[in-house]
Amino acid sequence: MTLESVMFYVLSSIGIASAVLVVTRRNPIISALWLIVNFFCLAGLYLTLHAQFIAVIQILVYAGAIMVLFVFVIMLLNFRDEHTLFERVTWKKNVAAGLGLAVMMEMIYIIMTAAYPSAHYFSRSGYIGTIENLGVQLFTKFLLPFEVTSLLLTAAIVGAILLAKKKMD
């Protein structure tokens, strides 16, 4: 086994385990902490795919900034007693869980058996995800999406203020 595949199996098993823990923990803060573990595993997986810049951003933005927001929201909601937060399992939820499981099996089957006819599209070069390469792509071919992003962010700012500002004058 190459180092890549060792890394892949280690990171993805930790990633799946931490994702399950995020959903099953009762205390939302502990869930949030497991989510950080999950983000780190994802960042590691990006590295094995030669997406260095994305890996760093994953840690900076997700594990850093977004988690801060998560924790603030948890504090804001301030559940007095986490133990009251459990839900009753009804037949509807069982059916939903069954269907979800079926979709998951289907996806696994498809991904395992897919022919990947187009593997040659993707470069295996280690430099594909470097910051230079990404920058050139972003500011030439994907220039318009980049500019639209600024409008998206501005709209998000206006929306956040409109919904959450304490006193609107």
């Binding site: 933005v61 500019e147 998000a156 206006v158 500002k165």
Partner: protein
Amino acid sequence: MLENYTPIFLMIGVAMAFGIVMSKVNEILGPKRRNSDKYSTYESGMEPLRSTRERFSIKYYMVAMLFIVFDIEIVFMYPWAVTYKHLGFSGFIVMASFIFVLLLGYYFVWKKGALEWD
């Protein structure tokens, strides 16, 4: 390819091991005197009055939200800075218009008083 990262992985491993070992060693070697006072919450020498889980004001959320938006803006500036020479003057225009739009958003935030604490 991934071999290039060996030093980084090594450092992450050492850092994690150091943290775990230090706290565990402290737990094993340190003297233990168990009594109820030891296990109560330490609140600057005062008796703890109520739960430490206070409800946060939504103002924190506003700050965090705005922080994320401008954090994402910065993310786009790294690749831009690295490729600036390659892009030339058009690269300057491109980033200037991006920042201009967000600057208007910032002006809106400022004028709406979302950055004031009260």
